[in-house]
Assembly symmetry: D2
């Protein structure tokens, strides 16, 4: 198979993570999944130049429109801030490029729908970067649920707890400003990850009711730390939900949970058993089954590093685990193999749209102080 | 000091637990806290007779009215089902007896208020049996919050997870029937414990929004297991809340969380630090403080069995812990010492009223599908 | 059945713990297991008087010889320091009393053998107080091994970690002086508990090789803290062992493991599965079985509070656990029921002898810097 | 700086792991640490050809002698089985190549010493591949000990528990045969890792006393599974040790600990505090300090993913961790940067020699059933 020629828009945190993914995919999954890192694109020429050299990209660009127009690119990787996603995706789709877009897919539901319409109309391949689906523990949870090991699901509870914003000298980065990051703050940024996992593992969310809060007040400006600026997005959101299959769900996403470092966790209770996951100890999936004798039963600590475990078997002997970076390697493997074999990559943009719909339903429920149906939204 | 003469109404689970508490209080807290177990009262003469002999009560009765009328009784311990609480308390208060009443204080808010009015009017001493306040870990959490170690509190999250109702042959006990247990099911039964802990540790709850569900359907009748009867109370409830001090809260109380055996847990996040508790490992309180250096900081596992720890120091050398039964020993110590020293026992009936108000606000929010203020209730 | 009339020699830590056991046994196990707390005996009249009143013993004595001679006593409970055990037991056996003796049975193997000979000769009932056998998790481990769930056992590893001696102002208590506590220090005091558990769960120990150390140096005298005295027993011991059934064992008992509060733990690996226990979280027994599918298998966290669990079922609903104090309630139940039903209580003095033999073999291995067979000892 | 031209001998498990390390070092640590993957060498031409393509090596060889002779190679990476290490290293040193050699350095102490003499004589740079030193948690432990946070160290306890050999159909791989893997089995293979960590963190081991066992008996031959062959190396070893600084140590390395998947763990207790590490949850280092108030103190769970943490800061935001593979990236960074800056890489071959000396002292103690001083060995 011929190598895939990639251009990436963005060169910071996600630029590094995606590069790590592209570079290592063939080492772990096989030589056929090789990509050619053609172009890295960013607004600041010197910075993107340095990043491209470090990460091994052949060329650089400062204008994403020129990248999209190139004929020697097969895939556009959209890893830039959320307010740029729509324009890049629409142009790339128009140019017939396959597209990987980081989550959240867009800053608003209407943008997200427009993007889905574009890739559907032009027929290009599309994937949204919900990388936590590639954790071996999450993949195993999905499989076990699919095999019926939990039976009918009754409960989902999840929380994403972080605290990086709590220190008073943390600067007013773009994520804290509604004009750049959108109005949803923690709900879209970290909440979207657990909304996606909920819908992936349990099913579609039907109704929601939430609350949010901005605890942080002001933070120093990035370019002049002697001046303060107001945080204009919520630091924390909580909401309850009902799924279409009747399960109840609780959700929390916060940047104000002191001591927790991007710890996300979920528990699922079904009629036949339960599953628990905690990202702090990501290679463990806990499983309770009513099939075990009551006297010697309990939650099992399954370490998901065995050869049988999806996204783990190709790596190292059992006990020698993977973590965050490796999710991108598996994500890129899934993307490249789908493109090479002419399959639809999963999750496609429709998943990003569905996630954004829940985000906006929660926001509406907060505004109107009542339960809101996700399908009420326009 | 003269021993306190006690009569207990109820002889089953709580009868045993309270007896354990009364009997051991002097052994642990000192000989002055001795009670005389005078009368045990229950409807079934033979059963109460057996229980009284096993637990060491001097006499038995089958009619609580006769017990209340006795002149040789100082304290009435109301450990019977919830639908009997009001009448007993009203009569006992009228008779000038001090009263310990098991939680939930009553099946409805109006009953609870009537009971509080009665004990206030007659001036008898009163306590509601929220025994989990007597866990050393909970007591330490209360003290640490009081000392300002968490700063302003931002988040409370708590869940009481159990699964005893999930087995299909579990009988239709009184707790599953709304005419006996009240209409709130898991919300009042187990939810009341975490509502009380929340208000004890964080402060009063202001507004709530919830959802509940009955997953269980039918269960065999107790007296004829070949016939089935419908479960008429919710198995599970979830709700979000805002506290008067601005904190956000999430709550869950369920009998449908497979694999969890009355596991309750909470986490509190404040501006200066966090606390975590999990009843499965009840002698541990986890504490994060921003005062620790970031490089070597993290949640500390405080084992609350040291001499300095309230409700632990009087027991055994550190490392040799206590658990459920011992909470009643400490509860009875608090009750008896308050009576002997003519202080108000804590928590008094006003705490039971406040808890019941939250229960009913949650129920109303569910009915009306909107956020409800606790002080909206009549 | 007629109540058992007990006299206890000792009134401090073990006096309280054993009283707690005797008092609560009928409440938990049934009214027939009632004991009469007749006499508490101790050297200091005023102190024993206070303790007897607090704990509810009818009379006091200051000379154990007078206690042994009384005709209204059925059982002598030897809870005094180790150097007094032999004389009391010999006299009590001669007087035809049944005997409960705290662990370690004696300060030397030859004393222990003499005591065993005495109770054997006189035919009185005897038990040694290895109370940790009464933890529900340990009892379940014993049952599971007996049922063959582990298969042939390959490994035992155990450690008792404490740190109470580390603070520099900790006084030179009797446990730190070889003339009172015997020459073995931590090896006999805390090591004996894990040696007993090892032999209880795995089988007899055949050979040992160890090392020990006194890290502590000097500590303030109890009666004059301005003067220092030397610690004359080892603070810490480590040893390896081979069991008669071929298993390998590692042991550690130390008072110098900062941060550990009498935390003892063990892991047992067999050909069919493994068990793990940690006293910090004593109501959990972890169990791995090769019978589980590799993809969804792992250590199960069995919470040993269910009705089916020995020493737990009689207490509280599952999830509401017991801990240290309750082991004495179950110990006294086993003792009293064996006496009433004319059975041999378990564990008898022969178990104390076998434990002491291992202690002395370890000491000999340390002295001679070589592996020593337990049956080498005279 | 000019890129380092590398040849690797070996292409299986370590071939992949080392490639992963070389490839990602510049992405994480900076573009200057780039290596050129020139030659991959292995005995089976087709297999090494496939591996080289997958991993991105430019050329292949089947004879390591031709590789060593090439003038376009700067560094030889010895990742082949242990019985080949000595010859390759001697030739490479003679040819003036810098050398990375996988652990254990050699199959015998005398070989290891010969190798150290060769690299010392020729002055080439040398490193032995103890990759677990590159775990952020281990690096932090080293730093904290160096800063005196533990004070004088009293205890080390460590175990490497695995179970991959327990399944009866596991084939008789080279690691189970003494003529290929050396006579020490689990002691050298996995024991060497924890011996190295002990000497790295605590200091040199002075005396040892051990025992070992082969539980496994026979296993199917690799090339004909219908026939069985005998396992000729120990499956399990246990030993106790004294360090030169007076600390006591316990060690265990076993392939017969059912349910444990290469789980290694250690605890270090010093006069001022303690550290605990468990590879199953590798990004956590637990730390107890006597400096904390006793009432609110305990083991802290430090998550070692913060920017301040060595080998973690260059990767991802805190909370997004690394694991096994990343240790090789950091190892290669340390190697390449030392070579480029003309420093001695750490750990050098002298560390491999010291580790092997302990291995052989343990073996001698087993043979002679007595304590052996490490410096007794020739």
């Amino acid at each position: 198979m011929k190598p895939l020629r990639v251009a990436i828009i963005g060169y910071k945190f996600m630029g590094k993570a995606h590069t790590f993914g592209f570079l290592n995919a063939p080492i772990i999954y096989g030589p056929q999944y090789r990509i050619v890192p053609k172009v890295m694109c960013g607004r600041h020429a010197a910075e993107v130049q340095y990043a491209a050299e470090q990460f091994g990209w052949e060329e650089t660009e400062t204008d994403w429109r020129r990248v999209v127009d190139r004929s020697d690119i097969d895939l556009i990787d959209v890893s830039s801030p959320g307010d740029t996603h729509k324009d890049i995706v629409l142009a790339a789709a128009q140019a017939g490029k396959d597209i990987l877009c980081e989550k959240p897919l867009a800053n608003t539901l209407s943008e997200a729908k427009e993007m889905l319409a574009a890739v559907t109309r032009t027929g290009v391949k599309h994937m949204v970067g919900f990388n936590f689906r590639r954790l071996p523990s999450v993949a195993l949870a999905k499989e076990m649920i699919g095999e019926g090991l939990l039976g009918k699901i009754c409960h989902w509870r999840a929380a994403w707890l972080s605290d990086w914003i709590m220190t008073k000298d943390f600067p007013l980065v773009w994520r804290l400003q509604r004009d750049k990051a959108g109005v949803f703050g923690a709900l879209a940024d970290i909440g979207s990850h657990i909304i996606d996992l909920a819908q992936y593992l349990v099913g579609d969310i039907q109704t929601v009711s939430g609350a949010w809060e901005t605890f942080s007040g002001e933070r120093p400006l990035e370019d002049d730390p002697t001046r303060m600026g107001r945080v204009t997005v919520p630091d924390a959101v909580i909401f309850t939900a009902r799924f279409e299959n009747g399960a109840l769900g609780t959700f929390e996403a916060t940047r104000y949970a002191a001591g927790n470092k991007d710890k996300h966790s979920f528990e699922i209770n079904g009629e036949k058993g339960s599953l628990r996951f905690n990202y702090n100890d990501a290679n463990k999936l806990e499983y309770f089954s009513w099939d075990d004798p009551e006297r010697t039963g309990g939650f099992k600590a399954i370490y998901t590093g065995a050869p049988q475990h999806t996204y783990a078997g190709g790596w190292w002997p059992n006990g020698h685990f993977t973590h965050y970076g490796e999710t991108f390697v598996s994500e890129m493997y899934e993307l490249v193999s789908a493109i090479q074999e002419n399959r639809r990559p999963e999750p496609g943009f429709e998943v990003g749209v569905r996630c954004q719909a829940v985000v906006e339903a929660v926001a509406k429920s907060i505004e109107e102080q009542r339960w809101v149906r996700v399908d009420e939204l326009p």
